[in-house]
Symmetry: C2
Subunit: 68 residues, 2 copies
């Protein structure tokens, strides 16, 4: 297991949080996803390494961005 | 058919708009619902009179308020 954190920008409400949560949860290997609306903090735990590129793509799919 | 307008407060994104749209569409007699994110303008058309109390309750159910 490994854990990585990201900062997501553009989320304004609980629906946004749910969208990010859903998309990132579908990334292969991901076991746990936490999203904090106020700070944009996204914490992802996965079997093996967290695939950062896949997480970024999932966040984009939900309609938001990971800040660099 | 009649049409009534309301101002909804608290919507921050397209998901909020969808929630309001969905809930208000389920009010008996309602035929058309338009929601504008920027202004909070909610326009409801219904068979017969628009039931304003039911519309307010539906907006509250979605998690928002109709301003007085």
């Amino acid at each position: 297991m490994s854990t990585a954190t990201f900062t997501v920008t553009g989320m304004t409400c609980g629906h946004c949080v749910s969208s990010v949560q859903e998309e990132v949860s579908e990334v292969p290997g991901v076991r746990d996803v936490r999203v904090e609306l106020e700070t944009g903090l996204l914490t992802v735990s996965a079997e093996g390494e967290v695939d950062a590129a896949a997480v970024r793509a999932a966040v984009a799919e939900a309609g938001y961005q990971v800040s660099a």
